[in-house]
Structures are given as structure tokens and as C-alpha cells.
């Protein structure tokens, strides 16, 4: 009972902060809302028993991504309060978003999730999440794991190439 109640509280918080993030005229505020939204997602992960994922969510998304975003914003804008929002296509955007949300919700609700074949998640709940994840990463998912390392390398090279200042350039 308490769990259900908590879920709805967090869910409402996520929706609210997400909408506010989009609508907020101040980009700085948007970033803060984003952090809050991600925090709500972390809470839901925690409620589902995936403490590791919850931790990652907080560490990486809030700790790294959003903080970095806020840094960038405050570094590139002289006045962080200035609005840069473009509300030109707000109506079609909302229509699209609303429609897609409706579709997804309907589809998920209409699906009978119990008849689906495949491995049961319940069996995994007993074991330690972190250990399981670690094992999976170097056994079943070793390939994507390695590909990600190349991906990071490529991204790193790309970032260096695009951001670095060339000699003689005074931009």
C-alpha cells in the first residue's frame, strides 16, 4: 500500500518536472528540473529493488551529465537567466507528444504481460544485482561492452577534434 502510494508520488513528480523542464523559459531552471526528474526515476529504480541502477542513475546522470550541463550553461551564457526558448511549434509538438504518450500507454495497458514467454525476472531477484550485472557484462554482453570502449574512444577523439582550438585561430 505504502509502496503504491510512493510510486504514484514519484511518478507524479517525474511527470511534473519533465513538463516543467520543457516549458521553463529559463534554461538554467530547465537543467535543475531535469535533475529532479532523473532523481525521481532513480527513486523508482530503488523501489523496484534495482539499487545498483538507482545508484548509477544518481551518480552518472545527476552527478555527471546534469552537473556538466549546468556548468556549460553558466560558462557559455553571460546572463544565465536569459531565455532562449523557441515556442514556435509548441502546438504540434504538444499534439505529437500527447498522441505518442497515449499510444504507448494504451499499448502497454492492453498487453497481457503474463502470457509472454521468456525468462522470468522473478528468479533473478534472489541473487545480488551487482554481481549479476558484472558477470553478464563480461560473459553474455562482452561484445557490446567492448564495442562501447571503442565508442568512447571515438567520442573522445571527436570531442578533441571539434573543440580544440587551432593555432593561429583566435576565436
Amino acid at each position: 500500500m505504502v509502496e503504491t502510494l510512493l510510486f504514484y508520488v514519484f511518478a507524479a513528480a517525474i511527470v511534473f518536472t519533465a513538463v516543467m523542464m520543457v516549458l521553463s523559459p529559463n534554461i538554467f531552471h530547465s537543467a535543475i528540473y531535469l535533475a529532479l526528474c532523473l532523481f525521481g526515476v532513480a527513486a523508482i529504480f530503488a523501489m523496484l529493488g534495482s539499487f545498483f541502477l538507482a545508484g548509477l542513475q544518481v551518480l552518472i546522470y545527476i552527478g555527471a551529465v546534469v552537473v556538466l550541463t549546468i556548468f556549460v550553461i553558466s560558462l557559455t551564457r553571460q546572463v544565465s537567466g536569459e531565455s532562449d526558448a523557441q515556442m514556435g511549434n509548441i502546438l504540434p509538438a504538444f499534439l505529437t507528444a500527447g498522441l505518442s504518450t497515449t499510444l504507448i500507454i494504451l499499448a502497454v495497458l492492453k498487453t497481457d504481460w503474463n502470457t509472454m514467454a521468456g525468462e522470468s525476472v522473478a528468479a533473478l531477484e534472489k541473487t545480488n544485482n551487482v554481481t549479476l550485472l558484472g558477470n553478464q557484462l563480461i560473459s553474455s554482453f562482452v561484445l557490446p561492452f567492448e564495442v562501447i570502449s571503442v565508442l568512447l574512444l571515438a567520442a573522445l577523439i571527436g570531442a578533441v577534434v571539434i573543440v580544440s582550438k587551432d593555432a593561429g585561430e583566435n576565436k
Partner: protein, 476 residues
């Protein structure tokens, strides 16, 4: 675990590492890196071509079958040709030369994994590897605002489409509770496909559509092609598109084959829209790169026509067309790159009188465009005929009619280019163009290949047919 199956990918990783190390060692004369890279990947292409393997590793998440062999060849062919094109035409500062070719390598690596994976996480990660490398490559002409803009658009829209794809994949995973394609196929066969699953499939279809420049995911194409360095645009237009189609084949023609009542009607409508929009908008283009961009959109539409066709012959026709299209598009873009190198422009107006100044380039571009328009005896004709035939085998009469009509229509704007080159005189006197030897060879090789594939397609079609059958027979 049989690591031999991964030898191509491992070697490419080695090549990338070697390029990065060379970049450290060699201080000036950075062109050495380019030539080394070219030699290495050309060697690798040869190796792949001669050394076809068969097998599955990692619980069926990585497969080396005919289709991955063939598409790896196309990808590496695209990479080699784009590299040759890059040697003389890119305007990247010497200190970034190493990075440029390394990124070329990583994107090829991503695509190679993409065509060999049979597991959703690997597929997705491989796709991202390919895309991120291409994004950086598009923005490589840093001094050019258009190039940076291209990179940014590619990044943002690519992220959006990745989001759509990922959402679809997550719905598929949530329904099937596995990320392995073979097991998902088993779930599909058992008949349990709920609405969430179907929604997932549609989202995946649209997410993949980004790579194929399929309407409505095509919007990025013209801007990115126009802004990106020409070799990169060529590379995106052939290799990336080929990889995307293989991804689509693995998912739809294999895993979700039983659910064709979901994706076939959608693809049919989108194929029609893709052809129509690509062709109609191309007519009014004044910039040759944008024109080619819209032309590739319409080409994607033709390929989709074959894609929805009968199972084996459809895949075979798609593979064959991808091959023919790779050669043709590289040829067209090479001519563009040479002209742009000399005149600094891709505008159609600047091609006036090209036939008189540079008959060689004009004839080459003419052959490329006529092949794209599907005029025999060039490769494009057989390819298109095969695609339409595959759709007809399944009885999609109207689709074939619309496709043939579009193919007729497309001739119009290709002829506009020819007319510009052959009839009009340039307003200003132009100096003789310099055509680097490497590019001259590239052009000649492409022309010979286009003619060879067009006149003697038998062997190629037999190969693609065998490969298409191989995908179904060889799973374990």
C-alpha cells in the same frame, strides 16, 4: 569461443590503433598516415573477400554468415573508396589527419558489428559507434559553418531517432524478455505478440529508417550531405545506408518475419512516400550535393520496394542493389569532389560547360546519373529491375507501378544536370581542372565496375541469392 570469426573486426581494431599510434609518431608528412590506412583497409577488404567464414559465437549474439560477409564487403568497399576520395579532397588540418582516418575506421567497425550481431544490445551499441563516428566526420571541416551545422544536425536528429529506436527495442525486450534475435523469433513464432510488442516493432522500424533516409526520417539527409566533406557524404550515403538495410533485414526479414502484417503495409506506404518526396523535391534543387541527397532518398525508396518483396529474392535484390548503388554513388560523389576541389562549389550552375572543359568528368557523371536513373546496360538498371521483380513476385502490382513511374520521373532531373554540363557554356573562363591520379583511377575503376555489373550481373545475383538463402538455413 571461436575468436577466428571475429578476425575481421579485430583486425580493423588493430588498424585503428595503428593509425592512432602513427599519428603520434609521424610529426609532419601526415599523408603517410592516410596512405597507410588505405593500404591496410584495402588489404583487409581483400582478406574479407577471400576469406569467407561461417559460424556463431557468444550464444548466438555474433554471427558470421553470408549476409554479414557480403555487407562487410560493401562497407569496406565504401570505406576504401571514400578513403581514396579523401586523400586529395578533404580540407582537414594535418594535425587531425590521424583522427579523420581513425574515425573512418571506427565507423566502419561499428557497421561491421552492426551487420554481424544477432543481439539487440550489441546491435544498438554498434549502431551508435557507427553514427557517432560519422557525426564527427561530418563536422570535420571545422572552418566551414555548413560542415559544423551538418554535424550538429546529424547529432541531434540522430539522437532523436536513436531514442525512438531504443524505445522500440525496449518494448520488444520487455515483451520477449530476451535480447537475442533467435529467441525473439521463437517468441514471435509462438504467436504471443501483444500490442506493446507491435508498437515496439513499429518504433524500431522508424528508428532504423533514419539510417536509410526513409520518409519521415529523411529530413537530415540533404543538410548533412551538403555540409559534410564530400567523401564523408559519399561514405554515409553508401556504407551507412547499407549497414542500416542489413540491420533492417536481420530484424524484419528474419526476426519479425512472421509479423509481416505489421511492417509490410507500413513499409509499402513509406516506400511510396520516400520515392515520391525524394524525386519531386530533387527536381527543384540547385545544389548538386542536395540533388544527390534527394536522389539517394528516392533510391532508398526503390530498395524498400524490393525489401517488402518475396523473402529470399527480396533480400537478394536488396543486397544486389546496395552493391550496384555503392559503386554508382561513389562515382557520382567522386566527380563532385573533384569539381568542388577545383571550383570550390557544388552549385549546379557551376557545372555549365563541364563537358567542353572536362569531358572525362562529364562523361563519368553522366554514366553515374544514368545508372541511378536505371538506364541499361549500367548496373542501376539490373538492380532496379530486380527490385521491382521481387516486389512483383509477391504480387504488389501497384507498388511496382508507382516505383516504375518514379524511376521514369527521376530521369527528368538527372537530365537537367546533363543539360547543364553539355549544353550551357560557363559564364567565366575557367582554368583547366586538376584531376589527381588517385581520383582518376577511382573514377575509371568505378565506371568499369558499373558496366561489368550491369552487363554481367549473373554471378553477382547468384551470390546474393545464395547469401539470402544462407541467412535462413544457417542459424546455429
Amino acid at each position: 569461443m571461436n575468436l577466428k570469426l571475429l578476425s575481421d573486426e579485430l583486425m580493423l581494431t588493430g588498424i585503428i590503433t595503428a593509425v592512432l599510434l602513427l599519428d603520434f609518431i609521424i610529426k609532419d608528412k601526415k599523408q603517410i598516415i592516410a596512405y597507410t590506412f588505405l593500404a591496410l583497409i584495402a588489404g583487409l577488404t581483400l582478406f574479407i573477400g577471400l576469406h569467407r567464414q561461417q559460424g556463431v559465437v557468444l550464444n548466438g549474439s555474433f554471427i558470421y554468415d553470408g549476409i554479414s560477409w557480403f555487407s562487410k564487403l560493401i562497407i569496406m568497399l565504401g570505406a576504401v573508396l571514400a578513403t581514396v576520395m579523401s586523400l586529395e579532397t578533404i580540407k582537414v588540418k594535418p594535425k587531425y589527419t590521424g583522427a579523420y582516418y581513425a574515425l573512418m575506421g571506427t565507423s566502419a567497425l561499428g557497421m561491421m558489428f552492426l551487420v554481424s550481431s544477432k543481439e539487440l544490445v550489441t546491435l544498438y551499441v554498434a549502431l551508435e559507434l557507427a553514427t557517432i563516428s560519422l557525426i564527427v566526420l561530418s563536422a570535420m571541416h571545422k572552418h566551414d559553418d555548413l560542415s559544423l551545422e551538418a554535424g550538429m544536425k546529424y547529432l541531434l536528429l540522430g539522437a532523436l531517432s536513436s531514442g525512438i529506436l531504443l524505445y522500440g527495442l525496449s518494448l520488444v525486450y520487455a515483451s520477449a524478455k530476451t535480447t537475442y534475435l533467435d529467441r525473439i523469433m521463437a517468441v514471435v513464432s509462438s504467436g504471443a505478440a501483444g500490442p506493446a510488442f507491435i508498437l515496439g516493432i513499429i518504433l524500431v522500424l522508424l528508428g532504423v529508417g533514419f539510417k536509410l533516409s526513409m520518409v519521415p526520417m529523411h529530413v537530415w539527409t540533404p543538410d548533412v550531405y551538403q555540409g559534410a566533406p564530400t567523401p564523408v557524404a559519399a561514405y554515409i550515403s553508401v556504407a551507412s545506408k547499407a549497414a542500416g538495410f542489413i540491420f533492417a533485414i536481420r530484424l524484419f526479414q528474419y526476426t519479425f518475419l512472421k509479423l509481416d502484417y505489421v511492417w509490410v503495409p507500413i513499409l509499402m506506404v513509406l516506400a511510396v512516400l520516400t520515392m515520391m518526396i525524394g524525386n519531386l523535391v530533387a527536381i527543384s534543387q540547385k545544389n548538386l550535393k542536395r540533388l544527390l541527397a534527394y536522389s539517394t532518398i528516392s533510391q532508398a525508396g526503390y530498395i524498400l520496394v524490393g525489401f517488402v518483396g518475396a523473402s529470399v529474392i527480396g533480400i537478394s535484390s536488396v543486397l544486389f542493389y546496395l552493391f550496384a548503388y555503392t559503386l554508382t554513388n561513389i562515382l557520382a560523389f567522386t566527380v563532385l569532389a573533384v569539381v568542388a576541389k577545383n571550383t570550390g562549389s557544388d552549385e549546379l550552375a557551376d557545372y555549365s560547360g563541364l563537358a567542353r572543359r572536362e569531358p572525362f568528368l562529364a562523361v563519368s557523371l553522366m554514366l553515374a546519373l544514368l545508372s541511378l536513373a536505371g538506364i541499361p546496360p549500367l548496373a542501376g538498371f539490373v538492380g532496379k529491375f530486380y527490385l521491382f521483380y521481387a516486389a512483383m513476385e509477391k504480387g504488389y502490382v501497384w507498388l511496382v507501378i508507382i516505383a516504375a513511374l518514379n524511376s521514369t520521373l527521376s530521369l527528368y532531373y538527372y537530365l537537367l544536370v546533363l543539360r547543364q554540363m553539355y549544353i550551357y557554356d560557363s559564364a567565366v573562363e575557367m582554368p583547366k581542372m586538376k584531376i589527381p591520379v588517385s581520383l582518376r583511377i577511382l573514377i575509371i575503376v568505378c565506371i568499369i565496375a558499373i558496366l561489368a555489373v550491369g552487363i554481367m550481373p549473373g554471378w553477382f545475383i547468384d551470390t546474393t541469392t545464395e547469401i539470402a538463402q544462407n541467412m535462413f538455413t544457417y542459424t546455429k
